[in-house]
Symmetry: C2
Amino acid sequence: MPIPKDFMKPARLSAKERAFLQLQEWIIDGTLQPLEKLNDAELATALGVSRTPVREALQLLNAQGFVEMHPGVATQVTAVNNADVEKILPVLAALQALAAEEVSQKGVTASFIQQLRAKNAEFALAIESQNFYLALKLDDELHTLIIQEAENEYIANPVSNFQAHVRRLFFHNSIILTAQSVVEHEKLIASLEAQDAETAHAITKQNWVRATEEYASRTK
Amino acid sequence: MPIPKDFMKPARLSAKERAFLQLQEWIIDGTLQPLEKLNDAELATALGVSRTPVREALQLLNAQGFVEMHPGVATQVTAVNNADVEKILPVLAALQALAAEEVSQKGVTASFIQQLRAKNAEFALAIESQNFYLALKLDDELHTLIIQEAENEYIANPVSNFQAHVRRLFFHNSIILTAQSVVEHEKLIASLEAQDAETAHAITKQNWVRATEEYASRTK
DNA sequence: TTCTTATATATTGCATACATTATAAACTAC
DNA sequence: GTAGTTTATAATGTATGCAATATATAAGAA
């Protein structure tokens, strides 16, 4: 019986990876608050490992913009500026729109379209039941499906980083999702199906731009 | 006499930062060839430091896509796929175009426009004298000026990473620059001056898309 | 011979001790 | 009392030793 390789991999995570994932989660969900001091020795004992893997994880989080390092002074969680919604979402929109455009040009299979529709149906249910965190997660997954299809890691990597930042903004009450997204998703899927790259691009961008504007109007 | 803060900073770089910058440079300019094995102990002695800062630098390079790590086996320089030009440039174009759009909407000062024109003049000279590496560097600097003006680190960070990858592709003879860019830059500057966001966006995108197409046509 | 199993080796991963740096407190000189 | 200097402390940065892992080699049994 052939065992899929991918199944074996997650079995053993290195201490560094565990530390990274745990700290990132804590920063995103607010367990570790913005500007909170991160003493590596303290974190090491808390995570049951030595300082080395903790420091390595902190440096990666620093590269991702979740942690600020001041050599010889302190390491701390970065601040959360709610106004950053207006900085991130346009970039996320541009990248996701580019992916949609590329996928549309390449052409798609029927089963891929079916996957998207299924995910959008789940998304609609989550919105309807006002489970907004689940909705955000499903929205991410829907766009990630498209990005994986684009097979462009230069899009996929920054997008996955931005999604993490968006999740943190969500936990700090900076983002809202509405039923309007369900309609937009369906339009997006239809344009992919019709290989209409221009519309696919436009709709994807509109999807996040609208969210940005909703944020802006709420804060006025 | 007030000494500018920024002047003091580069004076002392940590061993990790020195290792990172040196290794990145070596990977970009081909001193360290694609797929070359990177033994951290070896690199440590070569750089006159211990394994720790070297390993930290390698992990950052891994996050940036310059290094591949296979735990317990080997660490090596990532491969260079010349076809990646067609993956990176559209993304770089999309991000730089977004920056140009934002700057255009915000409005610009006369001195900023003057800076851009000066840089483009240098760029034109470099192209004319067929100093293509200098030209690439000046092109980067021109677009970086615009990106700094946009004040959006979610654009600036991935772009600076992509520029590093593009420089590596240049050293592996995957990219060419032509005098056409000089004309496009001038059009871009004019559209920024006129606060024409749409044109600024379109020109910036065209600037790299054309380079991509030139690459594609050369490889056929 | 061929497949299996030990074993040796090389590499990365982790833990810990030490060095360096930056800040704040205490102390001295004026 | 205040300014400047010294000293103490706490944090990060670096070096080194050891552990764990993966691969290749060699040995042994079928």
